[in-house]
Chain length 263, copies 2
Amino acid sequence: MTKKNSKKPKTSDIRTSKADIFNTVKKKRAFEEVSAEVKRLIFKGLLRPGDQLPSENEMASRLGVGRQTMREAIRFLELSGFITTKKGAKGGAVITDTVLNSISNLLLDAFQMKKATVHDFIVARLEIERAVLRQVLIRIDDENIKLLKNNTLSARKKIENKQVAFHENVEFHKLLARASKNYIFVVLEETLMTLMADFLSHRQSNLRFSSRVVKMHEDLLQAIVKKNDSEAFVLLEKHLLEVEESLKGFSKRSEIRQELDSY
Amino acid sequence: MTKKNSKKPKTSDIRTSKADIFNTVKKKRAFEEVSAEVKRLIFKGLLRPGDQLPSENEMASRLGVGRQTMREAIRFLELSGFITTKKGAKGGAVITDTVLNSISNLLLDAFQMKKATVHDFIVARLEIERAVLRQVLIRIDDENIKLLKNNTLSARKKIENKQVAFHENVEFHKLLARASKNYIFVVLEETLMTLMADFLSHRQSNLRFSSRVVKMHEDLLQAIVKKNDSEAFVLLEKHLLEVEESLKGFSKRSEIRQELDSY
DNA sequence: TCACATTTGTCCGTATGTATC
DNA sequence: AGATACATACGGACAAATGTG
């Protein structure tokens, strides 16, 4: 952010490459270094979800910074989705992985600022799901088929018990992304699904619609297993267009969330 | 974040709706209220990009909180991409709009965390650029054509002066995404290009390759302007496959970025 | 060039609320 | 119920950076 944005370094434009090198040594704030250090430990796998971090005081003194600085680093990590904090004894910071949640929160801000519309979202989702399906048809294996099958089975069970299969239906698309074996798609799909869940959280859950979605997932999965590519694409498109219908009404409202007091 | 996540409120599940109402009154931390208030002002348009915020001390006393709390709120807004801060006299917080950057940074974190590989990246990029092109062919207008044309012109100029057109070539794809008029794609392309720039920053810049890229961009743009869809897709694919070649060698590393000390 | 004012960045001491034992 | 441990929050202080006269 600080590094990349300095496109006009006031000095001559001729030596841009060298100027960029100098920019990288620009002094960083202490809390940035601290949070980067923690992030590094997480990426390296030395800190894993569920791990408890020492108290603010201890971390501060161990890292050689003040409490205020430590707090700002903690805030930074918290808002980025790397840790969550709890008050009281035995409280403190715990490593979590809610980065995708943080992303979707920022995307909601973008929607709020009218930089993105529901239509944008629907188009992007359709395109990305198409890409995912293309990869799935190439790379799916028995294990992922089994996971998807189990998903539709438990969804079907819920429907039979007159319950909506909301969670299962969202999970189906995440499983599809995993079956593509491409982590970029996994991240994108999970982000889109988080947003989707947020959109739908304000509406009444509809058993009939939920049941219909389960049916379409079952059909889609069958087409995938049978390697009937063209049918799979047709089913996917039809499915997503129906889901789009269920989002209708949102397009008319300019704001997605009435209140922005969350998080 | 705090509100939405509480799907299991320990109390009976039956009164979820009422429980949710009570959840909204859950005590929030001071810095959250402060940052939410500033965000509200931005969303309402009362604070606009370029506007200078009062100093930390003044805002703190005006809002009735301590400076520490104010600083945490500022960190929040900064990370979310709503403000940037500058040190020194006449410094302070200024309303900006770098939400795009913030989302892109978090996406990079997510990719890092999920251990996305270079191969994942290449596949995803091809798919996403295809999707972008599809939308561009539908929605492009004269203004965006002009921006793209200017981009290739200045790239061509650099090549003629024996300079690599690195920045321009990266920018071309960002402009393409903007021409799709879909903010989601803009975010994705921005992220992909950041990754791309990161890959290439470690290699020697190659004038001959850079020149070749410019040529392909020119051809692609021409096909787009002429509405020659099929040729545009062929050119895009060919272009990206050549770029992929230039990334060879990275595939062996499991991590995308060696260092995460950015931002 | 130099001093000065302003503002962020950082540290410390202290107090309070809250969750756990 | 009381003690403990921790995050949360306030206020004061100084250092560092930066623009201005």
